[in-house]
Symmetry: C2
Subunit: 421 residues, 2 copies
């Protein structure tokens, strides 16, 4: 374990250091490398500029086993990675015949003309080995002083494709022994940081296991990581810790690892053969959007309504004008009629309704911005509760949609809803 395999990530692009574009590649690469046991020791972003790129690469070669570089491989005049790498590694630029053939073929398929900008992409530092000969993405690797360098495009889809399909298997092949790393994420909703910290304080950790948590608005994620040699042992350590955490926080844990709340809800609905319809006001379609992001949701999702205007609430859902007048559109009474109304209008087992004030305007003293009513109607009952959320308009929408989904989850599981105000 003492001979840790080290990786570095270098992302190149003026748009990154000027803040115009957020670098989404490096965290993706870091996650993939960590998952196979490579320790990422540094992530560097530099502009399309000789000095800084060159230094970053040279420094990395002296301490890392694997270096992944993204960006600057395209056909525009800003794309100068090949030239910089050639100089930094003291390897002349050479026309890579394989790459040239590949480009010519692509150009033919796309029905465009070959030109010097496109040809430029085939001039690579000597010793470059093309990663993929079939797809659209152009990437290559170079071995230098026992360090493997991978050069990938900056376009996220192309980068991910090459990384997952070629780079990760390549690293696994070249590396004799990587530590086994196992990780489990527990996802929580409706709890605050200090309650989690309190609950985790006296969890018994082993030296192989580390424990942490962080906010992913509006959720909290607890991460249990274990590093060692024996996969079965590590998994049993993780199970042990997970069980301890669940004894303390089970009321807030809605999911695990990659599973999102909308997927949890979709799984529960599918398992119980239940159907759902949705009535949204302040969330404005976000609940339906999240539910339909899940492939196969058409089995349980019957449909939704975004009844933004009072007229739509009355005409589509049959909310009573009287109710709107006496209690207002943002009220428990309206939430109840919306939830019941949507089950009439789009027949389903569960009708969920949200009405509230997303802000920044529209708040009053009695009902300030962030006031949200959730209603759930099913065969056996209709329930409503009042909540208060904080932050920007989009935060309030997101938190409200999360609470609505959590209600469906809790209703199906027979758990009590989170307390309202």
């Amino acid at each position: 374990m003492n001979s840790m395999v080290k990786g570095e990530i270098i992302t190149i692009g003026n748009e990154l250091v000027s803040g115009r574009t957020r670098d989404i590649n490096s965290s993706y690469i870091a996650g993939r490398l960590t998952a196979i046991g490579v320790q990422v020791i540094k992530i560097t972003s530099v502009g399309d500029e000789y000095e800084m790129v060159s230094e970053a690469i040279k420094k990395a070669i002296n301490r890392a086993d694997f270096i992944i570089v993204t960006g600057g491989l395209g056909s525009t005049k800003d794309d100068i990675t090949n030239e910089i790498v050639a100089k930094a590694l003291n390897r002349p630029l050479k026309l890579n015949e394989t790459a040239m053939e590949h480009i010519k073929q692509k150009v033919k398929e796309m029905g465009i003309e070959m030109n010097s900008s496109l040809e430029k992409m085939a001039w690579m530092p000597e010793g470059a080995r093309m990663l993929d000969l079939k797809g659209n993405a152009c990437g290559y690797s170079i071995k230098d002083k026992n360090v493997l360098l991978y050069f990938l495009p900056g376009v996220p889809d192309q980068m991910r494709y090459l990384l997952d399909k070629f780079v990760i298997p390549d690293i696994l092949k070249y590396t004799k022994k990587l530590p086994v790393i196992k990780r489990r994420i527990l996802k929580l909703y409706g709890i605050n940081e200090s309650l989690i910290a309190e609950a985790l304080k006296d969890i018994k950790e082993r030296k192989e296991v580390s424990l942490g948590f962080y906010p992913v608005f509006p959720e909290y994620h607890i991460v249990i990581s274990a590093k060692g040699e024996d996969e079965t042992k590590l998994l049993s350590y993780i199970d042990e810790i997970e069980a301890q955490i669940k004894r303390r926080l089970s009321n807030y844990i809605f999911g695990k690892d990659e599973e999102r709340m909308e997927e949890v809800v979709g799984r529960l609905l599918t398992d119980r053969s239940l159907t759902l319809s949705v009535a949204e006001s302040c969330t404005g379609g976000l609940i339906s959007h999240r539910i339909t992001n899940v492939s196969g949701s058409s089995v349980y999702f019957m449909g939704g309504t975004v009844v933004y205007s009072n007229e739509a609430k009355v005409r589509i859902l049959g909310v009573k004008e009287e109710t709107l007048k006496s209690f207002g559109a943002v009220s428990a009474e309206t939430a109840k009629e919306m939830a019941e109304g949507v089950r009439r209008c789009i027949p389903s087992d569960i009708g969920i309704a949200v009405t509230g004030i997303a802000g920044p305007t529209g708040g009053t003293k009695e009902k300030p911005v962030g006031t949200v009513f959730i209603g759930l109607s099913a065969k056996d009952k209709t329930v409503t509760k009042r909540y208060r959320f904080f932050g920007e308009r989009e935060h309030i929408k997101l938190n409200s949609s999360m609470m609505a989904l959590d209600w469906i989850r809790r209703y199906i599981n027979g758990d009590p809803f989170l307390p309202g105000i």
Copy 2:
């Protein structure tokens, strides 16, 4: 202009290099520094680990004028930034009385007990100057060898607060002369990379102006940047270039700078006092969600329906069973009846409808995954067109929602819709 003011950004945290958390701080900081004329030359992320943090700081001091460091200032045992900085800069850790007072007061307000972990936060490298004495966020600055270093918390909200309120004004105060930087972003939809490259090829640039473009799926953004001393001149240069670009690409440009497509549509609807209702199938609520992300959208957005099931299409929008049977739910005929139906069911000036196959399942030979029909109904006419989008389910949803919003924009402007297939 040759004495460029240089900045570096260092973000610290094991969660960053392991890929567990995406670093959203560095692009924010980079954008802010760039906007005031500081050239960001490097962004580095390293773990909570002495060697790497120390090296990053020492290197940066040798070439940057301002260094912004985030993370590792909290009270947990992983938070070791203060210790590392003290060693790296050869300054002993000292109890900062101002910070200590501040922490004590906060602890009192929150009704919790003072403890050694909290006290740890007040032990700072000698010479540290607290940035803010009022808020919850703890950050400080140190002047070392004519370089100003700022240490900020990793929590994005706290970091942004301190950066905008204290660090940026501080940098502006210490810097005698920053170049003026002006930037304009033109946003395009429905065009491909090579067409943009072709159009920009013979644009006349001045030495003060640089021009670039990049994809922000499903949009392309063209960025015109100008750097110099005279703001008025720079703006006129940018106007000049913008006019040249518009002559070539006006058909695809929908917005400028920070304005999003849903805001452009909202502005047009407001200006013309028009109202909108939405009928969504494959986009699943995303169009309504985007429209209602805009504050004030309740003025023009009457409501939406997510008619996922055939039953919902028939019951809510009055789509004919016959139409569904003869042409299918994904057809021009259904899109037409959805668009007309939603204007009956939620009265409005413009009804927009989308029906398609978001995938990954549900495609056929005649109607493969990504086949999408858009329909628009208004007083004067109903129009439909067929499109084909590619990628993952969420890409197809996003692209379809974009096309629908673009239709509303083009309809109001009297421009032709993008050609279908």
